[in-house]
């Protein structure tokens, strides 16, 4: 049943102050309309309950993009076309630029506004995951004044928001600190344009010293609100992106989301796609970093090849802790790329005596502690802290069990327990430790040596990053 236009008012006071005081005079009675891409759809279908509409389209106070040193402030009345044309959005906030490009077709991009997308509060909205990733704040305005809230707190349930009945969204503020981040966005829908997403993702992150850092993942259409995958982020941050970690990230993503069956898709499909998107993002993040790291690795090796023998030994020693290994590596110079470096390291390591191996083992702090048997170089201490981060964050019971098992291991094998801890949780390490307590002396020596070889590889990769 079509609406009758004579039933509806459309007031157009023409400036923000007059609009805000009108809403304030009858809170909840006026429905603002900007580009009409949501409101007019309901209106045409006879489903628009508000009989009093308030025109905010093309209002100068709402349709401007201001840039300061720290942030970009996007007026809520800015259209997707405005966003696409803005060079700061294009260069520093590519996730928002992609979302603007994917929303509707050109005609809807010319009319749809960022503020409308936020207030309409669809969990499937294209631009909202990007705002979550970029830590957006919203400026809300009413006759009572302005307030600034985090966008992450804005959606309180399906189509429910923090917006008071007399308030209007005035602007979206994005901090300008993500331009160096790797950014990944994808929309999975029935069609490229004019389709509402079955699942969409916006994600960003960095890799620092080989480990994922400040990874941010947000999905649309997988919960009653646009959703930040905090559990998955916690699982990934601080870890080296490995096949094991990708498996874990997929599981955690499935636990983070709350998808439903609806006309566009099923909960099962959405869960599978959400996992695929998270894995694709992390894989690309890792690959992107690797290609950027390639040049740095070349520089590090060129310098190292040119050092005196003593200097070369001293420089590479923190990667392993065995002096014989460091001597062997120096003799293998020149090493020109990562593959040659890692191959030389494995060869040298396998040729060493048991006492050389034990020297390397003793350069590590006992797992769960911070002091090694021998005072190691500062770089080695820093790496150990990163590698064992998951244990530092573990709960007290697991830490206690680890400490007990460590003492048991030392009584039995007369040296500290060595495991390649990067990417493993405290619980997983405890499990490994308890299994290895059953090894005989010879098997355990080989297993510890293999773990040390892997630790050395990871450290060599970090070392190559300078």
């Amino acid at each position: 049943m079509r609406s009758n236009p004579s039933d509806y008012e459309l007031a157009a006071p023409g400036n923000l102050q007059a609009i805000v005081s009108l809403i304030g005079s009858e809170p909840g009675k006026w429905l603002p309309i900007a580009g009409g891409t949501d409101v007019m759809v309901q209106y045409a279908a006879g489903k628009l309950p508000a009989l009093k509409l308030l025109n905010i389209w093309n209002l100068p106070e709402l349709r401007r993009i201001e840039v300061s040193a720290d942030e970009i402030r996007i007026g809520a009345g800015s259209t997707y076309t405005d966003l696409r044309k803005n060079s700061i959005v294009e260069n520093e906030f590519p996730l928002l630029a992609s979302a603007a490009r994917w929303t509707g077709g050109i005609a809807n991009q010319n009319r749809g506004t960022i503020g409308g997308n936020i207030v309409n509060a669809s969990p499937a909205a294209d631009s909202l995951p990007a705002l979550l990733v970029y830590d957006a704040d919203l400026i809300l305005v009413s006759v009572r004044g302005e307030r600034r809230v985090t966008y992450a707190s804005f959606h309180t349930g399906y189509k429910k928001t923090l917006l008071a009945q007399d308030e209007l969204v005035k602007a979206v503020c994005l901090p300008r600190r993500f331009s160096e981040y790797f950014a990944y966005a994808r929309k999975v829908g029935a069609r490229k344009a004019q389709a509402i997403a079955k699942v969409c993702i916006a994600a960003a992150g960095r890799v620092v010293n080989g480990s994922a850092e400040d990874v941010r993942i947000a999905l649309g259409s997988v919960a009653p609100v646009p959703l930040r995958l905090t559990g998955t982020e916690k699982t990934v941050n601080g870890k080296i992106i490995s096949a094991d970690l990708l498996r874990l990230a997929r599981q955690t993503a499935a636990a983070d989301i709350r998808p439903i069956d609806d006309i566009r898709s099923t909960a099962r499909y959405r869960t599978a796609v959400a996992g695929n998107l998270v894995v694709e993002f992390l894989t690309r993040l890792n690959a992107e970093q690797a290609s950027g790291d390639f040049r740095e690795a070349k520089d590090v090796l060129t310098k190292w090849n040119a050092l005196s023998r003593d200097e070369a030994i001293k420089t590479i020693l923190p990667c392993c802790g065995s002096r014989a290994w460091a001597h062997g590596m120096a003799s293998h110079r020149p090493l020109t790329d990562e593959a040659a470096l890692l191959a030389a390291s494995s060869d040298v390591w396998r040729s060493l005596t048991t006492s050389d191996w034990v020297e390397a083992f003793q350069s590590h702090p006992r797992i769960g502690e911070s002091r090694a048997e021998q005072p190691p170089p500062a770089q080695s201490v820093e790496w150990s802290t990163q590698e064992q981060r998951a244990i530092a964050d573990a709960d007290a019971a697991v830490k206690k069990a680890l400490a007990d098992a460590n003492r048991e291991y030392e009584r039995r094998f007369n040296r500290i327990f060595i495991v390649c801890a990067g990417g493993k949780s405290a619980g997983e390490i405890l499990e490994i430790l308890q299994r290895r307590l059953n090894n005989n002396a010879d098997t355990e020596l080989q297993e510890a040596a293999e773990q040390q070889r892997q630790i050395t590889e990871l450290r060599l990769r970090k070392w190559l990053q300078g």
Binding site: S3, P5, S6, D7, Y8, E9, L10, A11, A12, P13, G14, L22, I33, G35, G36, T37, M40, V41, Y43, A44, A45, L53, N55, W57, N58, T81, G104, G105, I106, A107, N108, N110, R111, K192, A193, Q194
Partner: protein, 165 residues
């Protein structure tokens, strides 16, 4: 554009349609599409879906492509509207209209006015679009005679003719 608050009655608005100034008495929430078709007799813009999905009601408002079914007419007050009827110069078809004819870009005709206005909006921003850019520019306009290839070809042909007069 401003009006008094609390009125459900008709208001007078002025706008330019296809180069002609008009003053109309309208309900503010009437759809621009209905005013064009019913009040001004410009039936080139079609109602397909009525919810901004199909693009058959596309017109240019101050040079911007819009779905006229989603524009409350009050928002068009003071603006310059161009519909398909305003594109040709006298008896001479616009380059896009001619190219659509020559390339078989029109079949049943429902989507054609919107397609041509979307293409005109595209060519004003990108005079020599790639096929990918044409597809993006027309992505909001649906054709149900499955004529997309001819439509894309028609837009490319019009661009070529305009570049080599």
């Amino acid at each position: 554009m401003s009006n008094s608050v609390g009125s459900r009655s008709k208001v007078n608005i002025s706008l330019t349609v296809n180069g002609e100034p008009k003053t109309l008495s309208v309900y503010p929430m009437e759809r621009l599409l209905d005013v064009l078709r019913l009040d001004l007799g410009l039936t080139g813009a079609k109602e397909g879906c009525g919810e901004g999905e199909c693009g058959s009601c596309s017109v240019l408002m101050d040079g911007m492509l819009v779905n006229s079914c989603l524009v409350p007419v009050l928002q068009s007050a003071g603006s310059n509207i161009v519909t398909i009827e305003g594109l040709q110069a006298g008896e001479t078809l616009h380059a896009l209209q001619q190219a659509f004819l020559d390339c078989g870009g029109a079949q049943c005709g429902i989507c054609t006015p919107g397609m041509i206005l979307a293409a005109s909006h595209l060519l004003s921003a990108i005079p020599e679009p790639t096929s990918e850019e044409i597809r993006e520019g027309l992505a909001g306009n649906l054709c149900r005679c499955t004529g997309y290839s001819q439509i894309v070809e028609a837009v490319a042909e019009a661009a070529r003719r305009r570049m080599t007069p």
